[in-house]
Subunit: 112 residues, 2 copies
DNA sequence: TAGCAATATGATAAAGTTATCATATGCCTA
DNA sequence: TAGGCATATGATAACTTTATCATATTGCTA
């Protein structure tokens, strides 16, 4: 029995949205940008990540509407789109604090 | 320059938490359980997914604190832990509505 | 306008995740 | 307690995601 198209599309978008969050590189970038907007180079310095790694993942975050870019001469400043992202991240803290131990032993999702 | 352990652990837990959401099987299960608690068999029937696929993913959801189990004779009833999960899912709708098109063309995350 | 700094992009190997199949366990009821 | 239904678990092949390397592009500034 096929699902309604609308339902399927919504599920798929949810999934994409969460995937954007479910990677350490992107999460660290989000945490940094929560404090203030930064350029690619600044993000590289603060995280120690390779430049292309940062660029690739910023591109992903931009596609997903998580960050906005301001061109500033030779630099590009990336800022969090605070409207929904910050409230969401904050909501998690509560849950994560509560389920720390279990999350660390899921088995399906790898904890490295 | 090594990161503080505490910071790292938090990021990692965030990541695990979001991964739990970022899969279609689990999302469909969550959407179903949002309406009412169900047994494994009922979830299989409603989704058309294989039994072991459902079981594996329920196990993941339980580890992550998303669902609670009530043994009921031969059956096990799975219920959403509504305290944080439902508010989070609801928060997304807003963001997803706004960024539909972009999410569909991310490039880093695959849209299948 | 040449050269450099900042950022982006493409291809790919390695790592991680998923569904599936086969099988195991647990709990009823006859 | 035997048999069957409901659910769980383990191993694995197929698929997806990731970081990395090499290279391209863009915009300053001398």
């Amino acid at each position: 029995m096929p699902k309604l198209q609308q339902v399927y599309v919504m599920d798929n978008l949810h999934r994409l949205f969460f995937k954007a969050f479910s990677n350490q590189t992107r999460l660290e970038i989000i945490q940094l940008l929560k404090k203030k907007p930064l350029t690619v180079t600044e993000i590289c310095e603060k995280t120690g990540f390779e430049q292309s790694r940062v660029s690739h993942n910023l591109r992903c975050l931009e596609h997903c509407g998580f960050v906005k870019i301001t061109q500033n001469g030779n630099f590009r400043e990336y800022a969090l789109d605070g409207e929904t992202i910050i409230p969401i991240v904050d909501l998690f803290e509560k849950h994560i604090q509560k389920y720390k131990e279990r999350l660390e032993n899921c088995g399906v999702i790898k904890d490295d």
